[in-house]
């Protein structure tokens, strides 16, 4: 199965040609890391995969993006359904200013689930999956903002899991966290990949190397190299990749 | 829309209900308010409301049939009358009281004892603007100091009346005087200004006697100081004016309205002085009552 397949994707912001002919197929139940210098289009491409760019002024796209074999930019596609299936976790932990419980339950309520029992079940399960349950089970009604940064980020992941996505996109999910929280998130990602397809943007090459199975290196809007992480970091094929990962650049 | 209901069509003793809408002059307001207040003890179920849109604002509503009675500090004007006609509104004008205008100066002003009407005209006429500015231009033996004039706003009925009486034409006066719609403000202004000279309603003087010096008017027949008596008997002229209420014919036919108006005229002698105005003579009130009664009769 190919959960994500992009064909010849070009993205423009106004006149700014941000992604150029990106072709990529992402494997199921694996962690794929996007790396590359700032502004190379990593986030843009990630957000193209669940149409989070739709609201940005001047956004235009050419080419095709298939999720589970279906073109997601087709008219009839319901973007809300798509985003439910393709969850997203952001750079800075952004819990809703509500209780911990409400944060996780939000997605369910939004999608019309209002059976209390069902919601309780799902909240607990998601929090367990996100390895947060033991830390918060006694204070589910406390405000989410009272959690530490790392816990907040795991809460955001739990929140995403609650709506049962099959793909999770993460845009630098640990860059605002300290090393210990980062380690926890990385561990979590490694665990989650058994059930989910995970795509992660990271500025931290060590992180990419640690947690990902495959790495995609973007440069100036182009997908320069894409392959197994272990190969990429021991023997990249492209000179540009090598220069980037060894810190020789520009 | 009038909601007046007639539960009983005959008998003075009958409990009346309904609503009477009154608007108009702020000058007349205290009188009408007093009447309405007293009327309530008689007919507690009649809702009398009184607004203060000013005589002009009141007539505008009156001319559209939005109100039953209009308080007026001057007689209706041609345009306003035309508007009434256009809307098929007939009305009766009822004089309800007198309002005296007083001319005052600062307490420290030792030189002014009285003004002749001519002198007032000389001070206030439009031509005086920027020419007549010092006391000694009025009477040579007065000091050669600049005087400061205070008066009601040019949009007020009081101002209209004063200019008409003194200068001869309503709204015709010099422009370089300080105006305020609020007579208390004028009191304040004059009492704080040694060279101040002001005119405003008698009631305001009555309340501030200790702060101001009243100036008598010589209208050719000797100096007359304004007082209830001199206003009432007409010797304090030309600076006293009648104030009115106007009633529409439609309203007058409603028992609560006619009952109210009659109550107004019959209680005015006691209530008018109570709120600082000068009542008409009893005869005059009788005449006004008669005028209203005959108006109420179907023609």
């Amino acid at each position: 199965m190919k959960p994500i397949e992009a064909k010849n994707v070009n993205v423009y912001y106004g006149d700014n040609h941000v992604l150029k002919d990106v072709d990529i197929t992402i494997k199921e139940n694996s962690v794929t890391a996007f790396i590359g210098p700032s502004g190379c289009g990593k986030s843009t491409f990630l957000r193209t995969l669940n149409r989070m760019n739709d609201y940005i002024d001047g956004f235009r796209k050419k080419g095709k993006v298939y999720i589970d074999g279906k073109e997601i930019y087709e008219k009839k596609v319901r973007v809300e359904e798509l985003r439910r299936k393709v969850g997203m976790v952001f750079q800075k932990p952004n819990p809703f200013p509500k209780s911990i419980f409400e944060n996780v339950a939000y997605g369910l309520k939004i999608h019309g689930i209002d059976n209390k029992y069902e919601i309780n079940e799902a909240v607990e399960k998601s929090l367990k999956q996100a390895a947060l349950w033991s830390e918060v089970k006694d204070k589910l009604d406390k405000p989410a903002l009272s959690l530490s940064g790392g816990q907040q980020q795991r809460l955001c992941i739990a929140r995403t899991l609650a709506v049962k996505p099959s793909i999770i996109l993460m845009d630098e999910p640990a860059s605002a966290l300290d090393p210990i929280s980062t380690a926890k998130i990385e561990e979590l990602i490694t665990e989650l990949k058994e059930k989910y397809t995970i795509v992660i943007v990271t500025h931290n090459m060590q992180q990419a190397s640690r947690i990902s199975d495959r790495t995609a290196f973007f440069y100036l809007g182009e997908l320069v190299e894409y392959g197994k992480t272990s190969e990429m970091f021991t023997n990249p094929k492209e000179k540009q990749t090598e220069n980037y990962i060894t810190g020789r650049f520009g | 829309g009038q909601k007046g209901e007639q539960e009983s069509t005959s008998g003075n003793e009958a409990k009346l209900t309904g609503e009477i809408k009154i608007d108009g002059s702020s000058t007349v307001y205290p009188i009408t308010e007093a009447v309405a207040e007293e009327f309530r003890t008689d007919q507690p179920d009649v809702k009398v409301t009184v607004g203060v849109s000013g005589t002009g604002g009141g007539f505008k509503k009156f001319g559209r049939g939005e109100t039953d009675i209009n308080d007026a500090s001057r007689p209706i004007k041609e345009q306003e009358a035309a508007a009434c006609k256009e809307n098929n509104i007939n009305y009766v004008e009822l004089k309800v009281a007198y309002d005296g205008l007083v001319v005052v100066v600062n307490k420290e002003n030792t030189w002014v004892d009285h003004f002749t009407v001519e002198e007032l005209k000389k001070i206030w006429e439009p031509g005086a603007q920027e020419k007549i500015t010092t006391w000694n231009q009025i009477r040579p033996n007065w000091p050669k100091e600049k005087f400061n004039l205070y008066g009601p706003g040019v949009a007020s009925g009081t101002y209209d009346y004063f200019t008409e009486a003194v200068v001869g034409k309503s709204g015709s006066s010099r422009g370089d005087y300080t105006a305020s719609e609020d007579d208390n403000v004028l009191v304040q202004g004059t009492s704080g200004d040694k060279n101040g000279l002001a005119f405003f309603g008698l009631a305001y003087y009555e309340e501030n006697k200790d702060k101001l010096k009243l100036v008598g008017i010589d209208n050719g027949k000797g100096v007359v100081m304004p007082s209830v008596e001199t206003v009432k008997n007409g010797t304090y002229s030309p600076l006293s004016r009648p104030v009115f209420i106007y009633v529409t014919d439609v309203a007058a036919k409603r028992p609560e309205v006619s009952s109210f108006v009659n109550f107004y005229l019959s209680n005015a002698p006691t209530l008018v002085p109570d709120v600082g105005y000068i009542p008409l003579n009893d005869d005059e009130y009788a005449a006004e009552t008669a005028k209203f009664t005959s108006f109420g009769k179907p023609q």
Binding site: L82, R83, N94, I110, R159 | E37, D182, N184, A203
Partner: protein, 285 residues
């Protein structure tokens, strides 16, 4: 080094200037309040609150005035809040950044600067005449609603602007629609700011006199209104009326009524301050 010393002296000097002016502001406030209290406090008692207007100052009360104010406040809130907040939401969350949105924005800024008396004239033409509401509570509330609408819209927009975009993205990312996002996340997060704005706007409405006189609010109303179509008076009109009377006792009444009006304003401002503090404390992104 003398330079450092000089800078330090300036620093200290400014500190005292700052304290002086701050205290000056407070002092002015106290002068007002004390002045008013001295004039009016003796007049305030139960009867004053429950009596109908009267020609006798000592018997006159403000029952109809404060109930009118309460009515107006409630109706204005009912009308202005949904419309103002909705318009704010539209402009901030939905409106694309195009010319029309800019025109609306500029337009709102302009409306905020229009003198209230002109709103009175507008209300007179539209609500009293055109819609045939007469000088009713509803007409007054509608007029005041238009008057404070710009304030509410601007406050709403500012509060919405302060909600970080990450919150919206989080919601969209979970498959929420735009309205779900606005309703469940953005609005609650901005509610403190919006409420503050609303209350400040309403407390402005409470003090307005001129536009209500223009649309025909009355001075003497001997009954408490029981429907929005009834005629009414409000505290500021009562005050305005009393302070322009010649009798000293009415001036005292006026002062007493001002105390009541100030009290209402204080309470509302207090609520606003409370909400703002609570909001600032709670939301620290």
């Amino acid at each position: 080094m003398s330079n450092v010393k000089r800078n330090r002296n300036i620093d200290t000097a400014f500190k005292y200037v700052g304290i002086f002016f701050t205290l000056f502001g407070i002092a002015v406030l106290f002068v007002f309040i004390i002045n008013i209290l001295i004039d009016g406090l003796t007049r305030i008692n139960w009867e004053f609150l429950t009596n109908l207007p009267s020609r006798r100052a000592s018997k006159a009360g403000i029952l109809t005035a404060w109930t009118g104010t309460a009515w107006i406040l409630a109706l204005t809130a009912l009308i202005a809040i949904p419309i103002g907040v909705a318009a704010g939401i539209y402009l901030q969350e939905y409106g694309r950044k195009n010319r029309i949105a800019r025109i609306i924005e500029l337009n709102i800024a302009n409306l905020a600067g229009v003198p209230s008396i002109i709103y009175g004239l507008l209300g007179l033409e539209i609500f009293v005449r055109l819609m045939n509401l007469g000088g009713s509570l509803l007409a007054g509330a509608l007029t005041l609603s238009l008057l404070i609408l710009p304030v509410i819209i601007v406050a709403t927009r500012e509060a919405l602007k302060a909600v970080p975009n990450s919150l919206r993205e989080a919601s969209y990312g979970m498959g929420a629609t735009k309205w779900q996002t606005v309703w469940h996340q953005v609005l609650p997060a901005a509610s403190g700011g919006i409420l503050t704005g609303i209350i400040l706007a309403l407390s402005r409405a409470v003090g307005e006199t001129a536009p209500l006189i223009v649309i025909g609010a009355l001075a003497y109303v001997p009954f408490v209104a029981d429907s929005p179509l009834d005629e009414f008076t409000v505290l500021p009109i009562q005050i305005f009326n009393w302070v322009s009377r010649p009798q000293e006792e009415f001036l005292v009444n006026g002062a007493a009524a001002i105390i009541i009006l100030l009290l209402i304003t204080f309470v509302m401002n207090g609520i606003a301050v409370y909400l703002r503090n609570k909001w600032q404390k709670k939301i620290s992104w």
